[in-house]
Symmetry: C3
Subunit: 157 residues, 3 copies
């Protein structure tokens, strides 16, 4: 028997240092996720663990590709945690649809896709075939709280 | 009796200096809004009042947080004006779904969420519970016409 | 009799130097397009022809507006090629919904809308009325593989 999505998710979350007994905190004046007409929208997530943004700074300058990939994974775990909290279970995800990945980039850093690949891989690891998604990754000049990566996700439920 | 959304909208628009008798002008080769299958997509709005972009320049350098928040509010009023024009009334908005906020940012400006909070607050002020939304805010290097802020919105109708 | 969308598409693709007998290659760990509940999401496209990104570098510095517009057209042809490959025919596109255009911009380059206009015009040229769309265009600090432009699209099918 293969592991369930929720088990796979918990394993990934623990590997990245999450304490899943804490609810996900959202700072601003908006909501973590909205479900409408079979589509769930998740707000943009930075690599926050608890109250701390775990990976900050400019990728290609003070942050390496590997650290940025870890940041992308933390964003993805947060996104999955929000979906699980909103939907009751990750089994309710029918299909990932769209991921947009923003990388705080040095002027000459051009590996935004490679950063995003780590997020994509984690989505596949937890959701299997339902983790297939379309994706856009871009390099931005700054992100909230100096986060190195931010990503948002739309899924079918 | 509470004020209607259209009244609340007009009050916010006047506070920000709009002349609502003018139709919203769109510069480029695209359309302000499209409704399809119960979802309305609104094009990215810069803080234009009439023919002038009211807040230009880089936030965190020549533009303050407070000015950027005003810019975000003007973008939101334009977005609501387009929705009212397209749908006939703001009462037709069932639920805001997704807001993406782009802030023209200095390299070290990290308060994109605080800029976006002003837009979120205005959406709540006018739409009430239907103004709840998911959000992504990022810092970009430039925006059309040197605008300080640009935002786009997807809503359920 | 007017030309079919597929004919118009092939003409535009040839004008831009595409060899349509090659399938569209996607580099990363994601999928070119997903169709769900009547909506097709296409992944962000850079101006790649075959294995080469045809237009690279910063717009407003080493890349001119005209070159960036050509880049935006190449991104659009790739997007349409993916839609044709996914849907069988461009006739299956009911309505374009949302285009987001990212331009790798110099600090003082503010003509992101003019870059995106070229993509919008090509969408209208091929799809006619169904090519109407909402749009957001922003200036980013970098893009994957140093691409000058990246764009993504959502359409109704």
């Amino acid at each position: 028997m293969t592991d369930s999505r929720n088990t796979l998710f918990e394993r990934a979350a623990q590997r990245l240092g999450f304490n899943l007994s804490e609810a996900i905190r959202i700072g601003g004046n908006y909501t973590p996720a909205i479900v409408h007409a079979g589509t769930a929208y998740v707000s943009g997530q930075v690599p926050r663990i608890g109250t701390v943004v775990a990976v900050t700074g400019r990728v290609g300058a003070e942050v390496t590709l590997e650290e940025a990939q870890r940041a992308a994974c933390i964003c993805t775990v947060r996104t999955l945690a929000i979906l699980r909290q909103t939907l009751g279970s990750l089994d309710a995800v029918a299909q990932a649809l769209r991921m947009t990945v923003y990388v705080q980039s040095a002027m000459d850093f051009t590996q935004q896709s490679e950063v995003a690949d780590a997020a994509s891989a984690l989505l596949h690891e937890v959701l299997g075939e339902a983790g297939r998604h379309t994706r856009t990754s871009v390099g931005v000049v700054q992100l909230p709280k100096n986060a190195s990566v931010e990503l948002d996700l739309v899924v079918a439920v």
